[in-house]
């Protein structure tokens, strides 16, 4: 039923793009053992906008990092696009991030003292794209987030909202099928937060990108069409915002 949401036609992406099967993430051992994820199973279909919610320490960020191939599960199976990520090496996971994921962080994580344009170009540098083409694509990604006139500004010269939009442009410049956002509005006031969320929903409407967003604010979670609620490392509720947040 999601066949028409195919991300990149050549890839033959199955309907389910992210699938966690009984995933654990355990820190320490014995008495000091902490179960950040305690047997989580979930599936996300291509093109969905999913919000992961929960109090701090509930495992929502850990879950997100595992989905983003930034972290590996202690036990359980994670399949991305049908590929078992557990069988991939370090560099292969880096290639998955490079080609299939875009990241947006709470603290923006732009390179300091580097222009907005260079920040956006960076993923293309690692892809080995030629400078002229790289420049064109970065400019168009910046324009898409409404920052075409701030190309040469460094992070220090941009507002929080603008920095986050640069980060979104950087995440999307490689046109990845999945966008991962970890508390994207956490450091922003409500006006800027609304700006950024509008940007995300616009992007989703324009491209068939799957968005997975961690947040602890119900207002922000309402932008999504599905909410996963975590408590103590377990997925406790899964449904539409109105069902889960009621």
């Amino acid at each position: 039923m999601n066949g028409e949401h195919g991300v990149a036609p050549a890839l033959d992406v199955p309907a389910t793009i992210v699938e966690l099967d009984d995933v654990y993430k355990i820190y320490g051992s014995g008495a000091t053992e902490v179960r950040a994820l305690d047997g989580v199973s979930l599936a996300i279909r291509a093109g969905e906008f999913v919000a992961i919610m929960g109090p701090s320490g509930s495992g929502k960020s850990t879950c997100m990092n595992i989905i983003g191939c930034l972290d590996s599960p202690s036990a359980g199976k994670y399949a991305f696009s049908g590929v078992d990520v557990g069988t991939l090496g370090r560099d292969e996971r880096a290639l998955v991030r490079r080609h299939f994921m875009g990241f947006v962080f709470q603290s923006y994580n732009l390179l300091p003292r580097t222009s907005a344009l260079s920040n956006v170009e960076l993923p293309l540098v690692y892809e080995g794209v030629r400078p002229a083409l790289r420049h064109r694509r970065a400019v168009s990604a910046l324009s898409a987030v409404g920052l075409a006139d701030r190309q040469s500004a460094t992070s220090a010269e941009l507002s929080g909202g603008q920095q986050q939009r640069v980060a979104i442009a950087r995440a999307l410049v490689t046109e990845p099928p999945v966008l991962l956002a970890d508390e994207p509005t956490g450091n922003l006031d409500t006006v800027m937060a609304r700006e950024v969320m509008t940007q995300l929903t616009d992007i989703r409407r324009e491209r068939d990108v799957t968005i997975i967003m961690v947040t602890h604010e119900p207002d922000i979670a309402r932008y999504a069409d599905r909410v996963l609620l975590f408590t103590d490392g377990k997925l406790v509720r899964d449904g539409t915002p109105s069902e889960v947040l009621a």
Partner: protein, 402 residues
């Protein structure tokens, strides 16, 4: 990732922290500069020694009375001097040589109002070619002057400059000791050699010096020049056996004279300067090594400081090897820059010092290439450990690093 991108990434990182980059490379700069300068100076010293010895006269043998231990720092004891019959005997018995007797003394010399104590050498015309010290102008001694011991002299350039004050010396009469002496020639300029002004000298017929200045019929040194290269050893042994016979030295007895070869002296001095060059070079190489450790230190600090940046790069798709390359290239670029600057400073310093010390300026491409490659190699070796540390970071830990 394209090679040019890796390079520009490193260049950006270096340019962002200019002072620190400079301090990091300072160790390499000093190391390479000192290696290049020390070895070059050593070679200059060797060259300078060789040149000076060549200027004394090539294939030259000194025959002197006395007993000597071999090698530099020789001990000389007194023995009966030679006389002109020994010189005649050498000339007669040994083939392929030119011989010049010399009786050296010093005398009070008066020229007009100027007077000074000057070394005077009593000799013959052969001296000019044997000692490689030709006439500048004027004439040599005539046979009659030599056999009669006439009061004529050939003077060095220093006398012309300092005592004649640039006036025409030819034909002038000067006082040498108690003898009035006519100037017939002027020697060409030789400059200073082994701390001696070789232009502050007067040549007179040996018989004149024997009779008028010294009062003895001695010959203090016999200079012998082998006319054919590579025959000095043969000439030396022929002279030795001839003189042993003439001076009645028993076989197995100790010679009461010695024959010294300039080549031998040159070789001894050369090996000394070569040893010094190696020593100085080794000390300088240690400073280059210390410079490498400096690079490693700063790169390690830099990796820690930029952990978050590394996390960001890993998150957006950098592989471990991309991060490794970035930091490795950064340290190679730093050490290469240091190598280039050090090379220029080293060559500049060598030029300045050789100019100040009046030594020949020798440039050795080999040393420059070795010094430079060493600096690049140090960047690779000492950059690898920090770069590997950066590449091994776990993306999520690196991102969370404050």
């Amino acid at each position: 990732m394209r090679v040019l991108d890796v390079l520009s990434l490193s260049a950006q990182a270096i340019a962002r922290n200019k002072l620190r980059s400079f301090l990091t490379t300072l160790g390499i700069i000093i190391g390479v500069a000192s290696v290049v300068a020390m070895v070059h100076l050593g070679q200059s010293a060797t060259r300078s020694v060789t040149e000076r010895i060549a200027s004394i006269g090539s294939n030259l043998l000194f025959v002197m009375p006395g007993t000597s231990m071999r090698g530099p720092g020789a001990v000389r004891t007194s023995a009966e001097n030679f006389d002109l019959s020994d010189v005649e005997a050498i000339r007669r018995e040994v083939d392929g040589i030119e011989v010049a007797p010399a009786l050296a003394t010093t005398a009070r010399v008066v020229v007009g109002n100027a007077n000074d104590t000057i070394p005077v050498i009593g000799t013959r015309n052969e001296y000019l070619s044997v000692r490689n010290h030709p006439l500048d102008y004027g004439r040599v001694f005539e046979p009659g002057e030599l056999s009669s011991g006439a009061s004529v002299c050939i003077i060095g350039k220093t006398l012309v400059d300092e005592m004649f004050l640039g006036q025409e010396p030819l034909g002038a009469t000067i006082r040498v000791g108690r003898t009035a002496c006519r100037v017939i020639g002027v020697l060409s300029e030789k400059g200073e050699s082994m701390g001696q002004d070789r232009d502050k000298t007067i040549l007179m017929p040996i018989k004149s010096v024997q009779r008028r200045l010294v009062g003895k019929l001695d010959v203090s040194v016999i200079y012998v020049s082998a006319l054919v290269d590579g025959t000095t050893k043969r000439v030396q042994s022929q002279i030795e056996s001839l003189l042993r016979q003439r001076r009645r030295v028993d076989s197995g007895g100790v010679d009461d004279f010695y024959v010294r070869d300039t080549q031998e002296i040159a070789e001894a001095l050369e090996s000394t300067t070569n040893t010094l060059t190696v020593l100085l070079g080794a000390i300088a190489a240690v400073s280059l090594l210390v410079g490498g450790i400096g690079i490693m230190n700063i790169m390690l600090v830099s990796v820690t400081e930029r952990t978050r940046e590394i996390g960001i790069r890993l998150a957006i798709g950098a592989r471990a090897r991309d991060v490794l390359n970035q930091f490795l290239v950064e340290s190679i670029v730093l050490s290469t820059l240091g190598g280039i600057i050090g090379l220029l400073l080293g060559v500049g310093g060598t030029w300045l010092l050789t100019w100040k010390l009046d030594m020949p300026f020798v440039l050795s491409p080999l040393i420059m290439v070795v010094g430079f490659s060493f600096s690049v190699a140090i960047g690779v070796v000492f950059g690898f450990f920090p770069a590997r540390k950066a590449a091994r970071l776990n993306p999520i830990d690196a991102l969370r690093h404050e």
